[in-house]
Amino acid sequence: MAEHAAPAITREEVAHLAHLARIDLTDAELDHLAPQLAVILESVASVSKVAADDIPPTSHAVPLTNVFRPDEVQPGLTAEEALAGAPEAEEQRFRVPRILGEEA
């Protein structure tokens, strides 16, 4: 797949990507997005041709090293503060919808 730098992206692929990204796109959005993404991908495909294999990738603008600090207790958020923006809270915890399927 990687050789084909600018594939036309299909509506089905966009639907799959939307599922991976956890966004419930409408049919109208899928119709609209697929051709737009194809155009964008075609225009950015030029990057696949410029860099030779021996060019190292850069992930950050400045060289990063691990940063340490003394392990000292510092004040943090209270439970009330941490929960203040929660859609639902109960017993000092975030209340969330069910995580598992209901039937086995």
């Binding site: 797949m1 990687a2 050789e3 730098a5 992206i9 692929e13 966009v14 990507l17 939307a18 599922h19 991976l20 990204a21 956890r22 966004i23 419930d24 796109l25 409408t26 959005e29 997005l33 737009q36 993404l37 155009v39 964008i40 991908l41 225009s43 950015v44 495909a45 030029s46 990057v47 696949s48 410029v50 860099a51 060019i55 190292p56 990738p57 850069t58 992930s59 950050h60 603008a61 400045v62 990063l64 940063v67 600090r69 958020l77 503060e81 941490a82 203040a84 923006g85 929660a86 859609p87 639902e88 975030f94 969330v96 919808p97 069910r98 995580i99 598992l100 399927g101 209901e102």
Partner: protein, 503 residues
């Protein structure tokens, strides 16, 4: 009062220090201005009159005790709505964060408060800083004070418009691909993107973590230096923060002089695709710089032309990952799907993100998800990272020959609201000259270069310097500012139409 709001931040600080006015008076004057013009400009998403006036009273007490907290103690500031502010909503221009009150302050905000700057409110922006026009805000667009039918740039159009419309003497913006500099260019104001790591990102809601940087939006270069000194410097809460003192920025403005400075004009940032009037003002500014004693040469950065492509792979990739935290569980919007009994957490998350994110955010999340997916990762994200290396090398080569690089900040002046809204590629081209700095982490400033002949709208000159040499931006920017203002007979903004009577 009208006269107060037109002064620079340093002039206001001076007037407060001399007892000619007070912080309360200055802050109230800006709140009055916001009340008078912001219905037309829409630079603010939230105005905190009570909090600002409370901070102003405290500043006045410190001033009268002879103990100002900083050079700008008592001078009000506006903050882009992407920085967490305790006690003030922080929405990032998105429905998904409507009404969210952060339980903590971003480091930039904490430093503003510690330095005594009353915070007037939060400024409008493209949703999660994705855009170049502020049209992608879920709360409606901001209007350019030069022409209310036109965009104020983006993503920080609220901050640039607030400063240009005299609603605030100072504002904070954030720049991931040009979101401070391009709005500055199209509103005739100053915008600085500091060196990556120069200003803490703690409490800045991340768009693309490896590119984001907060910085000053002002009407004078000296004000930008003063604000930069307040918000900049090492922060242990940001692991990418540079653990070294900032260069002396206000001093660089005070001692601004171009004799012997080597200036490189970037060959690849200009010419085709750049509006005639933008090029004309840029060429004139370069001539002024030459006449002022700078040594001007043309410099080639051959890989800059791939910057846009690399950026629009790296940014969506990082954004799709960063925005995964909006899962409807711990804060922000929660939407239950319509036709499901007892929906699962995943179904709630999916419905919430559909309802809470706008078009551009969805577009970029999907694009990033694609670029990072197996089978495409090497061809897209991996290659983009290599291009990033090539662009950094172009900068290294260029800065071996010259002290600073210059280019037009943006290829065009402000376009009309709606003109590029559904043409993502045309919108992305706005950032073509500003993106290379973000990819390489180097600092940049935009200063006004004049009005384009064809439309009478402001254009900007961009100055870029090597990483951690932010002082050079101020040194060169201050000279360009004073030479051009001498020609214009005052600041460029003095030529903007009066707001209030119009519309």
């Amino acid at each position: 009062m009208a006269e107060l709001i037109q002064r620079s931040a340093l002039e206001l600080a001076d007037a407060i220090a001399r007892g000619e006015t007070t912080s309360v008076e200055v802050t109230q004057a800006h709140l009055d201005r916001i009340a008078a013009v912001d219905e037309a400009v829409h630079a603010f998403l939230h105005v905190d009159a009570d909090g600002a006036l409370r901070a102003a009273r405290e500043a006045d007490e410190r001033r009268s005790a002879g103990q100002p907290a900083s050079a700008l103690d008592g001078v009000p500031v506006a903050v882009k709505d992407v920085l967490a502010t305790k006690g003030m909503p922080t929405t990032c221009g998105s429905r998904i964060l409507q009404g969210w009150m952060p339980p903590y302050d971003a480091t930039v905000v904490a430093r503003l408060r510690a330095a005594g700057l009353p915070i007037l409110g939060k400024t409008n922006m493209d949703e999660f800083a994705m855009g170049s026009s502020t049209e992608h805000s879920a709360y409606g667009p901001t209007h350019n004070p030069w022409d209310l039918e036109r965009i104020p740039g983006g993503s920080g159009g609220g901050s640039s418009a607030a400063v240009a419309a005299y609603e605030a003497p100072l504002a904070i913006g954030t720049d991931t691909g040009g979101s401070i500099r391009q709005p500055a260019a199209v509103t005739g104001t100053i915008g600085v993107k500091p060196t990556y790591g120069g200003v803490s990102r703690y409490g800045l809601v991340a768009l693309a973590s490896s590119l984001d940087q907060a910085g000053p939006c002002t009407r004078t270069v000296a004000d930008a230096a003063a604000l930069h000194e307040i918000i900049g410097g090492h922060d242990p809460r940001d692991s990418t923060s540079i653990d070294r003192p900032l260069p002396a920025l206000r001093e660089a403005v005070a001692n601004a002089d171009l004799s012997g400075v080597r200036v490189g004009v970037v060959k690849e940032l200009g010419g085709e695709g750049y509006q005639t009037g933008v090029r004309a003002r840029f060429d004139e500014a370069v001539k002024l710089v030459t006449d002022a004693g700078a040594e001007v040469v043309e410099v080639s950065c051959p890989h800059f032309e791939y910057g846009l492509g690399a950026y629009y792979l790296i940014l969506p990739s990082e954004a799709s990952s960063n925005l995964a935290k909006f899962d409807a569980m711990r804060y922000g919007l929660r939407v239950l799907p319509d036709d499901v009994d007892s929906p699962s957490a995943e179904q709630v998350m999916t419905a919430t993100r559909e309802a809470g994110f706008g078009d551009e955010v969805k577009r970029r999340i999907i694009l990033g998800t694609y670029a990072l997916s197996s089978g495409y990762y090497d061809a897209y994200y991996g290659q983009a990272q290599k291009v990033r290396t090539l662009i950094s090398r172009d900068f290294e080569t260029a800065f071996a020959q010259v002290d600073v690089l210059v280019s037009p900040t943006a290829p065009t002046t402000a376009f009309r609201i709606g003109e590029k809204l559904d043409d993502p590629l045309a919108m992305y081209l706005n950032d073509i000259a500003t993106i290379p700095a973000n990819l390489a982490g180097v600092p940049g400033i935009s200063v006004p270069s004049g009005l384009a002949d064809e439309d009478g709208l402001p254009a900007g000159l961009q100055v870029l310097a090597p990483a951690t040499a932010d002082d050079r931006l101020y040194r060169v920017g201050a000279v360009v500012e004073s030479l051009l203002e001498a020609q214009w007979g005052g600041p460029l903004l003095a030529q903007a139409p009066e707001l209030g009577g119009r519309r």
